[in-house]
Amino acid sequence: MIRAVQLQKKFGKVEALRGVSLQAAEGEVVGLVGPNGAGKTTTLRILAGLLKPDGGYAEVLGVRTDSPEFRRAKRWLAYLPEEVMPYDNLTGRAFIEFVHGLYGVVNMKEAVELSGLGPRVDDKIKTYSKGMRRRLVAAALLTVGAKVLLLDEPTSGVDVLHAVEIRRAVKEYAKSRGAAVIYSSHNMLEVQSVCDRVYFIDRGVVVDVGTPGELLQRYDATDLEEAFVKALKGSG
């Protein structure tokens, strides 16, 4: 459902991607792990059709992301950017309506439930905490019926209890709807618990890939964090 082949991308003189290849199948949650500036966000942006690669190509739902046809395929894609913040003067409910309106769906009940905002959903967003805002955006996007989810730090700023809830929802979403999910995170525990396969990425290239179990075994590590550090040291 998601396939990237030798993606290359430059911003001026900076080579953000130097040949990233990855794939995610139906019902699979794939982790994207790497240090700051490794190329995770650029990869997700190319997969979302926001950037055009300088080299290589990406396909989502069988359509190249740099082709005009991808516009129609985007109906089935939901991308949660890392830094996005909902509009202060809307209520949570109005924001969900706005996002659902872009996709042409109405699924308020499920979105409100998933957001965990309860009656606060009718308050203005400027009264929300950072975590509540993140939950709101995640809930709005997870309820548009997408077949492909691109999630960039979905639990950033969210408290432990609600982070667990979001992870559970993502995992369940992928299995029950057969959606392909790319899950970018700095939180290794999160990646280990949610992802079926994990890509280690550094300085614009994939350093290693495998299931969490395979990676732990390969690097003789007790957790994914240790495996990641060893993988990067080995590649550097």
Binding site: G49, L50, A78, E83
Partner: protein, 381 residues
């Protein structure tokens, strides 16, 4: 390094290297230079206008002759009879009556060259004061009647009142509306930049063109709401100030015009303003995408738009016919052309305005790709 100096050095390093600060510095400088050039040209034109006038005198009193002599020394060229041809060569013609004495009644025939031409020339009072001093009487102001001509036709007081209203109205349309539109567009775009929502929106089925179209529509609606509130305030303000006096006798004279603020004329002004506002809006959206938040967008966008609207200031002081080809004075140029029945010119300017709006929209739709909106740069092939 003390705390104070550390903070000051940090601020200077941060702000002096900010491109927004540098842009505002450069734009502020450019605006001042341009304003100086435009106002200077306007003043030179006015001075040149006051230096070029004719005096018509045919058998007058000694005091009248002294007055004529003073006017001649101030640059007036003396003729013995009045003819409309004089108005093609001079900005105004002073007619000295046979029974000239203080207080004197003097008629001035002025060629219409902006609102300032309606006011009596200052040189008349100077010459009168000098003549009075010579004969040892206290200086007294003249009672001047200004008869304004435009293309050989006489403007009545009602015409001048309407022209004044037209200028005020057009100035609002030329200057205030585009500036409101620019500010609104800055807010509309700045909020997306500040919230980093371009990525979210453009990864959905929404296209960059749909986003731009939405911004255009919402900005126009918001600007119209702002303008409506301001218009009501201005109406109340002007209704307390403007008293239009008509002169029924003057209207019956030959060569007189009868200008009216007809709905068709106002429609042309509105259409011209709408087209220019769309062009301003497109440019504002483009500039706003280069900023990072609402506050920066609000300060940078109007400072880019303001110099474009500068000639609207000049329109208050000088005739627009010297620079009426410039699109941002078209609401007034179109209105004036329509008021004098020059429909071909009015429609031509309107066509230019809409062509400009279309070109601006086309340029923006080509430039504003998803990549441009997300990263703030064009993709290099």
């Amino acid at each position: 390094m003390g705390v104070l100096s550390a903070l000051v050095v940090k601020d200077l390093q941060e702000i002096l290297t900010s491109r927004y600060f540098l842009v505002s510095l450069v734009v502020g400088f450019a605006v001042l230079v341009a304003l100086g050039a435009v106002m200077g040209a306007s003043i030179r034109e006015t001075v040149a206008g006051t230096q070029k006038f004719a005096v018509v005198v045919n058998d007058t009193t000694d005091l009248g002759m002294r007055f004529v002599e003073k006017l001649r020394r101030h640059g007036g060229e003396v003729y013995s009879s009045f003819s409309p041809d004089l108005l093609t060569r001079y900005n105004y013609v002073v007619v000295v009556p046979r029974n000239f004495t203080f207080p004197a009644r003097v008629e001035v025939y002025a060629r219409y060259r902006g609102l300032m031409s309606v006011a009596p020339p200052f040189v008349l009072d100077v010459a009168a004061a000098e003549a009075a001093r010579e004969v040892g009487v206290p200086p007294q102001l003249l009672n001047v009647t200004t008869l304004v001509y435009m293309d050989g036709a006489r403007l009545t007081e009602a015409d001048i009142s309407i022209l004044f209203s037209l200028f005020m109205l057009s100035w609002v349309f030329m200057f205030l509306v585009p500036l409101l539109v620019a500010t609104t567009a800055a807010i509309a775009m700045g909020v997306e930049k500040e919230k980093r929502t371009f990525e979210l929106i453009l990864s959905t089925p929404a296209t960059p063109n749909a986003l731009i179209a939405a911004k255009l529509v919402s900005s126009v609606i918001l600007a119209l709401i702002q303008f409506a509130v301001m218009a009501v305030g201005m109406f109340i303000y002007f209704s307390n100030l403007v008293v239009v006096e008509t002169s029924p006798t003057a209207a019956t004279q030959p060569f007189t015009l009868s200008i009216s603020l007809s709905p068709s004329l106002l429609a042309l002004v509105a259409l011209s303003t709408l087209a220019l506002s769309i062009a301003v809006l497109a440019l504002s959206l483009l500039v706003a995408t280069r900023t990072e938040d609402i506050k920066t967008a609000q300060s940078v966008v109007p400072s880019v738009i303001f110099p474009l609207l500068l000639p609207a200031f000049v329109a208050l002081f000088a005739p627009v016919d010297t620079f009426e080809a410039y699109p941002f004075v078209h609401p007034l140029a179109v209105a004036t052309a329509a008021a004098f029945g020059r429909w071909d010119k009015a429609y031509l300017y309107l066509a230019v305005d809409w062509a400009l709006a279309a070109a601006a929209l086309l340029a923006v739709s080509r430039l504003m790709t998803a990549e441009y909106l997300v990263t703030g740069g064009r993709r290099r092939r």
